[in-house]
């Protein structure tokens, strides 16, 4: 069995899409790269369909908030797994926090449904094309996205705790 290497994945992607990818890195041997957000579905579809790549299992999907990266504050991260060769990759797209629209991957991976809801819940990423983009873990009445950095971790609604005594 020929083992799929990170270099092969990288060459296949560049052959298909040209020089659109950025931030190539291999932390702990796991190939990581970023692409423009408009192309996220095309890249995922290519990784899925290509017989030599066949990344057909989405293990995780989440977002990261980088307040200092103006214009691309929110990063949506896809973790993909090739079960045949047991190879994992990490794929990122960046989006502006003012207009956090990213295409939904639900058509390709059914598991993206709940994970995109969770990402919406905590970071407010608007997944365009998602069938049911509502909060999943937090209370429905919540009117902000708690894991964005501008919101403090502590509950802001409490009235009975003395800041001095609770070290805040």
């Amino acid at each position: 069995m020929s083992q799929l290497t990170n270099e092969q994945i990288r060459v296949a992607l560049i052959d298909q899409f040209g020089d659109i990818f950025t931030e190539w890195s291999e932390p702990f041997g796991m190939l990581t790269f970023a692409a423009p957000k408009d192309l996220n579905l095309k890249v995922l579809q290519f990784l899925y369909d290509q017989e030599s790549l066949s990344f057909r299992f989405m293990t995780d999907l989440q977002a990261v908030h980088y307040p200092d990266r103006t214009g691309e504050e929110l990063c949506v991260v896809y973790h993909l797994h090739n079960l045949r060769d047991n190879v994992r990759i990490r794929f990122k797209v960046y989006t502006d926090i003012q207009k956090p629209d990213v295409f939904s991957a639900t058509a390709l991976f059914a598991t993206a449904n709940f994970m995109e809801r969770e990402t919406y819940d905590f970071f407010g990423v608007n997944f365009v094309g998602h069938p049911n983009l509502i909060r999943v873990l937090n209370v429905d009445e919540m009117d902000y996205f708690p894991l964005r950095k501008e919101f403090p971790l502590e509950d802001q609604t409490r009235v009975d705790k003395d800041d001095e005594m609770f070290g805040r």
């Binding site: 971790l153 502590e154 802001q156 009975d160």
Partner: protein, 187 residues
């Protein structure tokens, strides 16, 4: 030669309520009899969500034996129980559930918040956790600890018993009590 009889000299009897006693009869106020009966037959409803629930299991088991205090039977139906014991972290999403369970209980009902999380949110000073169940339901006794030892839970039960004993039959109809419930939006 028969074996020496062993008996427990520490058995404690409930005192007889004040009243007028004669040969073959006793007259006392109904309130005292009812509160005595209520006090020593509390049915707890455990609402255990985390580690305090484990301590409660130890409290119920043979070593600490909550049954000694008349709470022999732990009910799992809110309609039959007198004492709601909330043990563990209550997330904001769980808040309406606790409230619903409380509403399903019949009067008279008491609530005990066991542990730091149920009392004040504890270490979970965060956006997702209710900062004390007294935000959604009235609480009678708070048991501190993270988690409290079974002795502390038993102490809380005894405090509840004192409350039950001292509480008049009609307290639940008082204006003050109705005002308290109205403060929580409960009819």
């Amino acid at each position: 030669m028969s074996r020496p009889v062993q008996f427990n000299p520490k058995v404690k009897f409930q005192g007889i309520p004040e009243g007028y006693m004669g040969e073959g009869f006793m007259a006392t106020s109904f309130e005292k009899v009812v509160s005595l009966a209520r006090k020593n037959s509390i049915w707890p409803l455990p609402f255990a969500t985390s580690c305090c629930g484990i301590e409660f299991m130890a409290t119920m088991a043979s070593h600490y034996d909550l049954a000694r205090f008349g709470s022999e039977r732990v009910g799992f139906s809110p309609r039959q129980c007198d004492l709601l014991m909330v043990m563990g972290t209550i997330a904001k999403k769980m808040g309406p559930v606790v409230r619903q369970v409380y509403l399903q209980m019949a009067e008279p009902r008491w609530v005990m918040a066991v542990g730091a999380c149920a009392s004040s949110g504890g270490i979970f000073d965060t956006y997702s956790v209710l900062q004390g169940i007294d935000q959604v339901i009235p609480v009678d006794v708070y048991v501190p600890g993270c988690p409290p030892r079974p002795e502390a839970i038993i102490d809380g039960i005894l405090k509840i018993q004192d409350l039950v004993h001292a509480e008049g039959l009609r307290r639940r109809n008082s204006d003050q009590y109705k005002e308290l419930l109205a403060g929580y939006g409960i009819q």
